[in-house]
Protein backbone atom coordinates (compact mmCIF):
# COMPACT_ATOMS: atom_id res chain seq x y z
CA UNK A 1 0.00 0.00 0.00
CA UNK A 2 2.72 2.39 1.02
CA UNK A 3 4.62 2.32 -2.32
CA UNK A 4 1.36 2.87 -4.25
CA UNK A 5 0.52 5.81 -2.04
CA UNK A 6 3.99 7.21 -2.48
CA UNK A 7 3.75 6.82 -6.25
CA UNK A 8 0.34 8.53 -6.27
CA UNK A 9 1.82 11.38 -4.25
CA UNK A 10 4.71 11.82 -6.65
CA UNK A 11 2.34 11.63 -9.62
CA UNK A 12 0.25 14.37 -8.02
CA UNK A 13 3.33 16.50 -7.49
CA UNK A 14 4.43 15.92 -11.07
CA UNK A 15 1.01 16.88 -12.42
CA UNK A 16 1.11 20.02 -10.30
CA UNK A 17 4.56 20.87 -11.63
CA UNK A 18 3.48 20.25 -15.21
CA UNK A 19 0.48 22.46 -14.64
CA UNK A 20 2.75 25.11 -13.16
CA UNK A 21 5.28 25.03 -15.97
CA UNK A 22 2.77 24.87 -18.80
CA UNK A 23 1.17 28.12 -17.64
CA UNK A 24 3.41 30.00 -20.07
CA UNK A 25 3.35 28.81 -23.68
CA UNK A 26 6.41 26.74 -24.55
CA UNK A 27 8.96 28.11 -26.98
CA UNK A 28 11.56 25.73 -28.37
CA UNK A 29 14.81 26.97 -29.84
CA UNK A 30 17.65 25.26 -31.70
CA UNK A 31 21.28 26.01 -30.90
CA UNK A 32 23.05 27.82 -33.76
CA UNK A 33 26.54 28.12 -32.26
CA UNK A 34 29.41 25.75 -31.46
CA UNK A 35 28.03 25.32 -27.92
CA UNK A 36 26.04 27.08 -25.20
CA UNK A 37 26.87 26.52 -21.55
CA UNK A 38 24.16 25.35 -19.17
CA UNK A 39 24.59 26.66 -15.61
CA UNK A 40 23.07 25.12 -12.49
CA UNK A 41 21.64 28.45 -11.34
CA UNK A 42 20.81 31.95 -12.58
CA UNK A 43 24.26 33.46 -11.98
CA UNK A 44 27.72 33.40 -13.49
CA UNK A 45 29.14 31.69 -10.39
CA UNK A 46 26.94 28.61 -10.55
CA UNK A 47 28.71 25.60 -12.08
CA UNK A 48 28.41 24.72 -15.76
CA UNK A 49 27.15 21.14 -15.88
CA UNK A 50 26.30 20.69 -19.55
CA UNK A 51 27.09 22.18 -22.96
CA UNK A 52 24.35 22.36 -25.54
CA UNK A 53 25.73 21.45 -28.97
CA UNK A 54 24.89 22.90 -32.36
CA UNK A 55 21.50 21.65 -33.51
CA UNK A 56 20.37 20.63 -30.05
CA UNK A 57 16.95 21.81 -28.93
CA UNK A 58 15.96 23.57 -25.74
CA UNK A 59 12.62 24.69 -24.42
CA UNK A 60 12.57 28.16 -22.83
CA UNK A 61 10.84 28.07 -19.45
CA UNK A 62 11.28 31.47 -17.77
CA UNK A 63 13.80 34.22 -17.21
CA UNK A 64 15.29 36.13 -14.29
CA UNK A 65 17.80 39.02 -14.33
CA UNK A 66 19.64 38.15 -17.52
CA UNK A 67 19.30 34.36 -17.31
CA UNK A 68 16.88 32.01 -19.03
CA UNK A 69 15.84 28.66 -17.63
CA UNK A 70 15.71 25.99 -20.30
CA UNK A 71 14.69 22.37 -20.52
CA UNK A 72 16.94 20.21 -22.66
CA UNK A 73 16.40 16.62 -23.67
CA UNK A 74 19.83 15.30 -22.75
CA UNK A 75 21.11 17.74 -20.14
CA UNK A 76 17.97 18.28 -18.10
CA UNK A 77 17.03 21.72 -16.84
CA UNK A 78 19.47 24.54 -16.39
CA UNK A 79 20.11 28.22 -16.97
CA UNK A 80 21.67 29.93 -19.98
CA UNK A 81 22.67 33.57 -20.33
CA UNK A 82 19.97 35.66 -21.99
CA UNK A 83 22.68 36.96 -24.35
CA UNK A 84 23.18 33.38 -25.61
CA UNK A 85 19.67 33.46 -27.07
CA UNK A 86 21.29 35.38 -29.94
CA UNK A 87 22.94 32.07 -30.89
CA UNK A 88 19.67 30.19 -31.16
CA UNK A 89 16.87 29.99 -33.73
CA UNK A 90 13.17 29.43 -33.26
CA UNK A 91 11.22 26.97 -35.42
CA UNK A 92 10.44 29.86 -37.79
CA UNK A 93 14.14 30.65 -38.15
CA UNK A 94 14.05 33.75 -36.01
CA UNK A 95 16.48 34.80 -33.30
CA UNK A 96 14.66 35.26 -30.00
CA UNK A 97 15.68 38.34 -28.03
CA UNK A 98 14.74 39.31 -24.52
CA UNK A 99 13.80 42.91 -24.00
CA UNK A 100 16.98 43.74 -22.09
CA UNK A 101 17.30 47.04 -20.32
CA UNK A 102 19.94 49.44 -21.53
CA UNK A 103 20.69 53.03 -20.63
CA UNK A 104 18.82 54.59 -23.57
CA UNK A 105 15.81 52.40 -22.73
CA UNK A 106 14.93 54.39 -19.69
CA UNK A 107 13.75 57.24 -21.86
CA UNK A 108 11.11 54.95 -23.29
CA UNK A 109 10.29 53.16 -20.06
CA UNK A 110 7.40 54.75 -18.29
CA UNK A 111 7.71 53.79 -14.65
CA UNK A 112 10.39 54.39 -12.12
CA UNK A 113 10.71 53.46 -8.45
CA UNK A 114 13.19 54.99 -6.06
CA UNK A 115 14.25 54.92 -2.43
CA UNK A 116 16.46 57.52 -0.83
CA UNK A 117 17.91 58.57 2.49
CA UNK A 118 19.01 62.05 3.42
CA UNK A 119 19.18 64.92 5.81
CA UNK A 120 16.05 67.01 6.38
CA UNK A 121 17.42 70.03 8.26
CA UNK A 122 19.06 67.80 10.86
CA UNK A 123 16.39 65.11 10.85
CA UNK A 124 17.03 61.74 9.22
CA UNK A 125 14.95 61.40 6.08
CA UNK A 126 13.80 58.26 4.35
CA UNK A 127 11.68 58.47 1.24
CA UNK A 128 10.24 56.44 -1.58
CA UNK A 129 9.06 57.71 -4.93
CA UNK A 130 7.11 56.47 -7.89
CA UNK A 131 7.74 58.29 -11.15
CA UNK A 132 5.97 58.35 -14.49
CA UNK A 133 7.89 59.64 -17.50
CA UNK A 134 5.60 61.55 -19.82
CA UNK A 135 8.26 62.59 -22.34
CA UNK A 136 12.04 61.96 -22.32
CA UNK A 137 12.45 65.36 -20.67
CA UNK A 138 9.51 65.49 -18.31
CA UNK A 139 8.43 63.20 -15.50
CA UNK A 140 5.84 63.35 -12.75
CA UNK A 141 6.65 61.84 -9.38
CA UNK A 142 4.76 60.90 -6.24
CA UNK A 143 6.91 61.07 -3.13
CA UNK A 144 6.36 59.95 0.44
CA UNK A 145 8.99 60.57 3.07
CA UNK A 146 9.38 60.11 6.77
CA UNK A 147 11.72 62.43 8.65
CA UNK A 148 12.80 61.52 12.13
CA UNK A 149 14.35 64.29 14.15
CA UNK A 150 15.43 65.06 17.69
CA UNK A 151 12.46 67.33 18.41
CA UNK A 152 9.81 66.29 15.92
CA UNK A 153 8.89 63.74 13.31
CA UNK A 154 7.28 64.61 10.03
CA UNK A 155 5.78 62.92 7.03
CA UNK A 156 5.67 64.53 3.61
CA UNK A 157 3.28 63.48 0.85
CA UNK A 158 3.94 65.28 -2.38
CA UNK A 159 3.64 65.46 -6.11
CA UNK A 160 6.40 66.95 -8.24
CA UNK A 161 7.48 67.58 -11.78
CA UNK A 162 11.01 66.80 -12.96
CA UNK A 163 12.64 68.32 -15.98
CA UNK A 164 15.79 66.81 -17.46
CA UNK A 165 17.37 69.07 -20.09
CA UNK A 166 19.87 66.40 -21.21
CA UNK A 167 18.22 63.03 -20.57
CA UNK A 168 20.71 61.05 -22.67
CA UNK A 169 23.76 62.00 -20.59
CA UNK A 170 25.21 59.44 -18.23
CA UNK A 171 25.12 62.03 -15.47
CA UNK A 172 21.95 63.89 -16.21
CA UNK A 173 20.98 66.95 -14.15
CA UNK A 174 17.37 67.79 -13.42
CA UNK A 175 15.20 70.49 -11.94
CA UNK A 176 12.19 69.67 -9.80
CA UNK A 177 9.25 71.67 -8.53
CA UNK A 178 6.37 70.40 -6.49
CA UNK A 179 4.23 70.58 -3.43
CA UNK A 180 2.17 68.58 -1.02
CA UNK A 181 1.25 68.11 2.56
CA UNK A 182 3.54 67.94 5.58
CA UNK A 183 2.35 66.28 8.80
CA UNK A 184 4.50 67.35 11.70
CA UNK A 185 4.41 65.71 15.13
CA UNK A 186 6.52 67.27 17.89
CA UNK A 187 7.98 64.85 20.44
CA UNK A 188 5.87 64.74 23.59
CA UNK A 189 8.73 64.44 26.07
CA UNK A 190 10.21 67.87 25.40
CA UNK A 191 7.38 70.19 24.43
CA UNK A 192 3.69 69.55 24.53
CA UNK A 193 3.08 70.53 20.92
CA UNK A 194 0.17 69.75 18.70
CA UNK A 195 0.26 67.72 15.55
CA UNK A 196 0.26 70.05 12.58
CA UNK A 197 -0.78 69.61 8.98
CA UNK A 198 0.63 72.16 6.57
CA UNK A 199 1.04 72.46 2.87
CA UNK A 200 4.51 72.82 1.44
CA UNK A 201 6.16 73.90 -1.80
CA UNK A 202 9.52 72.71 -3.00
CA UNK A 203 12.19 73.34 -5.60
CA UNK A 204 15.09 70.96 -6.14
CA UNK A 205 18.22 70.45 -8.16
CA UNK A 206 19.63 66.99 -8.67
CA UNK A 207 21.21 64.48 -10.99
CA UNK A 208 20.64 60.96 -12.24
CA UNK A 209 23.78 58.84 -12.47
CA UNK A 210 23.42 55.72 -14.59
CA UNK A 211 24.92 52.64 -12.93
CA UNK A 212 23.94 49.56 -14.94
CA UNK A 213 21.01 47.94 -16.70
CA UNK A 214 17.89 49.43 -15.08
CA UNK A 215 19.68 50.94 -12.15
CA UNK A 216 20.36 54.61 -11.33
CA UNK A 217 21.77 56.55 -8.45
CA UNK A 218 20.08 59.87 -7.74
CA UNK A 219 21.32 62.78 -5.65
CA UNK A 220 19.30 65.89 -4.95
CA UNK A 221 19.35 69.10 -2.98
CA UNK A 222 16.00 70.75 -2.35
CA UNK A 223 14.52 73.74 -0.67
CA UNK A 224 11.11 73.37 0.90
CA UNK A 225 8.82 76.06 2.23
CA UNK A 226 6.27 74.85 4.77
CA UNK A 227 3.27 77.18 4.69
CA UNK A 228 2.36 77.56 8.35
CA UNK A 229 -0.56 79.39 9.91
CA UNK A 230 1.87 81.50 11.91
CA UNK A 231 3.40 84.84 10.89
CA UNK A 232 6.37 83.32 9.09
CA UNK A 233 6.76 80.25 6.92
CA UNK A 234 9.34 77.60 7.70
CA UNK A 235 12.11 77.00 5.23
CA UNK A 236 13.77 73.60 5.20
CA UNK A 237 16.82 72.54 3.21
CA UNK A 238 17.17 68.86 2.48
CA UNK A 239 19.63 66.69 0.60
CA UNK A 240 18.98 63.11 -0.37
CA UNK A 241 20.87 60.25 -1.99
CA UNK A 242 19.14 57.19 -3.35
CA UNK A 243 18.70 54.52 -5.95
CA UNK A 244 16.15 54.37 -8.72
CA UNK A 245 15.01 51.48 -10.87
CA UNK A 246 13.01 51.85 -14.05
CA UNK A 247 10.67 49.23 -15.42
Amino acid sequence: MAPTLKRAWWCGCLLLLIGWSSAASALTVTVDAAYIELHAGPGRGYPVFYALERGEQAELLKHRTGWVKVDTRRGGQGWIRAADLAHTLTAEGQTPVLPSARRDDYLNRRWEFGAAIGDFAGADALGVSLGYRMTPHLAAELRVSQNTGAFSDSQLYGLRLLHQPFPAWRVSPYLAVGGGEARIRPHGILVQGEDRQNNYLEAGLGAYVYLSQRFFMRAEYRNQVILTRRDSNEEVNEWVLGFNVFF
Binding site: A23, A24, S25, L27, A40, G41, P42, G43, R44, G45, Y46, P47, L60, L61, K62, H63, R64, T65, G66, W67, V68, K69, L85, T90, E92, G93, Q94, T95, P96, V97, L98, P99, F113, A115, I117, A123, D124, L126, V128, Q146, T148, D153, H187, I189, S212, Q213, R214, F215, F243, V245
Partner: protein
Protein backbone atom coordinates in the same frame (compact mmCIF):
# COMPACT_ATOMS: atom_id res chain seq x y z
CA UNK B 1 34.91 58.49 -82.28
CA UNK B 2 32.07 56.95 -84.24
CA UNK B 3 32.74 53.52 -82.81
CA UNK B 4 32.65 54.87 -79.25
CA UNK B 5 29.20 56.40 -79.84
CA UNK B 6 28.07 53.13 -81.42
CA UNK B 7 29.36 51.11 -78.48
CA UNK B 8 27.62 53.41 -76.01
CA UNK B 9 24.40 53.19 -77.91
CA UNK B 10 24.65 49.41 -78.09
CA UNK B 11 25.32 49.15 -74.38
CA UNK B 12 22.33 51.34 -73.57
CA UNK B 13 20.15 49.24 -75.85
CA UNK B 14 21.33 46.04 -74.20
CA UNK B 15 20.74 47.41 -70.74
CA UNK B 16 17.24 48.47 -71.71
CA UNK B 17 16.48 45.15 -73.40
CA UNK B 18 17.58 42.89 -70.52
CA UNK B 19 17.38 44.98 -67.43
CA UNK B 20 15.64 42.58 -65.07
CA UNK B 21 17.53 39.31 -65.45
CA UNK B 22 20.88 41.07 -65.20
CA UNK B 23 19.93 43.05 -62.14
CA UNK B 24 18.44 39.99 -60.46
CA UNK B 25 21.53 37.90 -61.15
CA UNK B 26 23.83 40.60 -59.85
CA UNK B 27 21.93 41.37 -56.65
CA UNK B 28 20.24 38.31 -55.31
CA UNK B 29 23.06 35.86 -54.51
CA UNK B 30 25.37 38.56 -53.18
CA UNK B 31 22.61 40.20 -51.19
CA UNK B 32 21.90 36.98 -49.36
CA UNK B 33 25.53 36.53 -48.40
CA UNK B 34 26.07 40.05 -47.16
CA UNK B 35 22.84 40.59 -45.21
CA UNK B 36 21.48 37.26 -44.02
CA UNK B 37 17.74 37.39 -43.76
CA UNK B 38 17.64 36.97 -39.93
CA UNK B 39 14.54 38.13 -38.19
CA UNK B 40 14.57 38.93 -34.50
CA UNK B 41 11.71 37.81 -32.36
CA UNK B 42 11.12 39.97 -29.32
CA UNK B 43 10.08 37.79 -26.39
CA UNK B 44 7.42 39.22 -24.13
CA UNK B 45 5.92 38.33 -20.78
CA UNK B 46 3.22 36.43 -22.69
CA UNK B 47 5.58 33.80 -24.04
CA UNK B 48 8.29 33.82 -21.38
CA UNK B 49 7.52 34.31 -17.71
CA UNK B 50 9.76 36.75 -15.87
CA UNK B 51 10.62 36.31 -12.19
CA UNK B 52 11.91 39.49 -10.65
CA UNK B 53 9.95 39.73 -7.41
CA UNK B 54 10.37 37.76 -4.26
CA UNK B 55 7.88 37.61 -1.41
CA UNK B 56 8.67 36.08 1.93
CA UNK B 57 7.63 35.64 5.53
CA UNK B 58 10.06 35.28 8.39
CA UNK B 59 10.13 34.47 12.05
CA UNK B 60 12.93 34.83 14.50
CA UNK B 61 14.35 36.29 17.65
CA UNK B 62 14.90 40.03 18.09
CA UNK B 63 17.07 41.09 20.95
CA UNK B 64 15.83 44.55 21.96
CA UNK B 65 18.63 46.14 23.98
CA UNK B 66 17.61 46.43 27.69
CA UNK B 67 14.23 44.86 26.91
CA UNK B 68 15.10 41.19 26.48
CA UNK B 69 15.00 38.79 23.53
CA UNK B 70 11.64 38.63 21.87
CA UNK B 71 9.97 36.71 19.07
CA UNK B 72 9.65 38.70 15.85
CA UNK B 73 7.52 38.01 12.78
CA UNK B 74 7.71 39.86 9.50
CA UNK B 75 7.16 40.02 5.78
CA UNK B 76 9.61 40.96 3.04
CA UNK B 77 9.30 41.94 -0.59
CA UNK B 78 12.33 42.03 -2.85
CA UNK B 79 12.89 43.23 -6.39
CA UNK B 80 15.86 41.80 -8.26
CA UNK B 81 17.48 44.57 -10.26
CA UNK B 82 20.39 42.67 -11.74
CA UNK B 83 22.03 39.30 -11.26
CA UNK B 84 23.88 40.75 -8.26
CA UNK B 85 21.75 43.51 -6.71
CA UNK B 86 18.29 43.56 -5.17
CA UNK B 87 16.04 45.97 -3.33
CA UNK B 88 14.39 44.66 -0.19
CA UNK B 89 11.55 46.05 1.90
CA UNK B 90 10.83 44.58 5.35
CA UNK B 91 8.09 45.04 7.89
CA UNK B 92 8.03 43.23 11.22
CA UNK B 93 6.46 43.30 14.65
CA UNK B 94 7.69 42.31 18.06
CA UNK B 95 6.90 43.07 21.69
CA UNK B 96 9.45 44.13 24.28
CA UNK B 97 9.73 42.49 27.70
CA UNK B 98 10.44 44.24 30.96
CA UNK B 99 13.95 45.47 31.66
CA UNK B 100 16.03 43.85 34.40
CA UNK B 101 15.52 47.00 36.47
CA UNK B 102 11.73 46.68 36.24
CA UNK B 103 11.92 43.00 37.18
CA UNK B 104 14.19 43.53 40.19
CA UNK B 105 12.46 46.60 41.57
CA UNK B 106 9.10 44.91 41.36
CA UNK B 107 6.83 47.92 41.08
CA UNK B 108 8.45 50.27 38.56
CA UNK B 109 7.07 50.26 35.03
CA UNK B 110 9.04 52.18 32.44
CA UNK B 111 6.62 51.53 29.59
CA UNK B 112 2.93 50.72 29.40
CA UNK B 113 1.72 47.56 27.69
CA UNK B 114 0.97 49.43 24.43
CA UNK B 115 4.31 51.18 24.48
CA UNK B 116 6.06 47.81 24.43
CA UNK B 117 4.88 47.21 20.86
CA UNK B 118 7.90 47.23 18.59
CA UNK B 119 7.43 47.65 14.84
CA UNK B 120 9.96 48.41 12.17
CA UNK B 121 10.13 48.83 8.44
CA UNK B 122 13.22 49.13 6.32
CA UNK B 123 14.31 49.63 2.73
CA UNK B 124 17.60 48.06 1.83
CA UNK B 125 19.94 47.26 -1.00
CA UNK B 126 21.37 43.77 -1.10
CA UNK B 127 24.31 42.20 -2.87
CA UNK B 128 24.53 38.50 -3.63
CA UNK B 129 27.86 36.76 -3.42
CA UNK B 130 29.50 33.35 -3.05
CA UNK B 131 27.11 31.36 -5.25
CA UNK B 132 27.42 27.63 -4.89
CA UNK B 133 25.71 24.33 -4.35
CA UNK B 134 24.98 21.99 -1.48
CA UNK B 135 24.42 18.31 -2.02
CA UNK B 136 21.64 16.12 -0.71
CA UNK B 137 22.91 12.57 -1.06
CA UNK B 138 24.42 11.84 -4.48
CA UNK B 139 21.43 12.85 -6.58
CA UNK B 140 20.27 16.30 -5.66
CA UNK B 141 22.16 19.57 -5.64
CA UNK B 142 20.62 22.71 -4.15
CA UNK B 143 21.73 26.17 -5.19
CA UNK B 144 22.88 28.51 -2.44
CA UNK B 145 24.31 31.98 -2.07
CA UNK B 146 25.23 34.46 0.62
CA UNK B 147 24.07 38.07 0.65
CA UNK B 148 25.06 41.31 2.32
CA UNK B 149 22.45 43.94 2.92
CA UNK B 150 22.40 47.55 4.10
CA UNK B 151 19.52 49.92 4.45
CA UNK B 152 17.55 52.35 6.50
CA UNK B 153 14.10 52.58 7.95
CA UNK B 154 12.09 53.57 10.96
CA UNK B 155 11.37 51.82 14.21
CA UNK B 156 8.25 52.53 16.24
CA UNK B 157 8.85 51.75 19.86
CA UNK B 158 7.52 53.31 23.06
CA UNK B 159 5.17 55.36 20.85
CA UNK B 160 8.10 57.14 19.24
CA UNK B 161 9.66 56.80 15.82
CA UNK B 162 13.39 56.23 15.52
CA UNK B 163 15.40 56.47 12.32
CA UNK B 164 17.14 53.11 12.06
CA UNK B 165 20.08 51.81 10.09
CA UNK B 166 20.05 48.14 9.22
CA UNK B 167 23.05 46.03 8.36
CA UNK B 168 22.93 42.34 7.77
CA UNK B 169 23.95 39.19 6.03
CA UNK B 170 22.25 35.96 5.22
CA UNK B 171 22.32 32.62 3.54
CA UNK B 172 19.89 31.39 0.90
CA UNK B 173 19.13 27.77 0.15
CA UNK B 174 16.97 27.16 -2.92
CA UNK B 175 14.75 24.10 -2.54
CA UNK B 176 13.40 24.87 -6.03
CA UNK B 177 14.42 27.78 -8.17
CA UNK B 178 11.31 29.70 -7.07
CA UNK B 179 11.32 28.60 -3.43
CA UNK B 180 14.09 29.55 -1.02
CA UNK B 181 14.91 29.12 2.62
CA UNK B 182 16.47 32.23 4.12
CA UNK B 183 18.68 32.23 7.20
CA UNK B 184 19.42 35.82 8.08
CA UNK B 185 21.01 38.09 10.65
CA UNK B 186 20.25 41.80 10.91
CA UNK B 187 21.45 44.53 13.19
CA UNK B 188 19.02 47.42 13.65
CA UNK B 189 20.69 50.40 15.18
CA UNK B 190 19.15 53.66 16.43
CA UNK B 191 19.60 56.29 19.17
CA UNK B 192 17.06 56.65 21.94
CA UNK B 193 16.63 58.34 25.31
CA UNK B 194 14.20 55.95 26.91
CA UNK B 195 16.41 55.34 29.94
CA UNK B 196 17.19 59.00 30.59
CA UNK B 197 20.42 59.26 28.67
CA UNK B 198 20.92 59.19 24.94
CA UNK B 199 22.32 55.85 23.84
CA UNK B 200 22.73 53.86 20.67
CA UNK B 201 20.92 50.55 20.66
CA UNK B 202 21.88 47.80 18.25
CA UNK B 203 19.06 45.31 18.17
CA UNK B 204 20.21 42.03 16.72
CA UNK B 205 17.77 39.85 14.87
CA UNK B 206 18.21 36.22 13.86
CA UNK B 207 15.55 34.92 11.53
CA UNK B 208 14.39 32.07 9.34
CA UNK B 209 12.25 32.81 6.32
CA UNK B 210 10.54 31.17 3.40
CA UNK B 211 10.57 33.11 0.12
CA UNK B 212 8.75 32.63 -3.14
CA UNK B 213 9.83 34.13 -6.49
CA UNK B 214 7.22 35.34 -8.94
Amino acid sequence: MGSRVQRLFLALLLALAFPLPLAAQAQDPLGRVITPDLERRELTEANLDEERFELGVYYGLLSIEDFGSNPVAGVMLAYHITEDFFFEANYAQSKAQETSYELLSGAVELLTEDERDYRYYSLALGYKLLPGQMYLGDRRALNTHVYLIAGAGNTQFAEQTYFTYTLGAGFRLYALDWLALDLGMRGHSFRHELLGVSKTANNLEARVGLNVFF
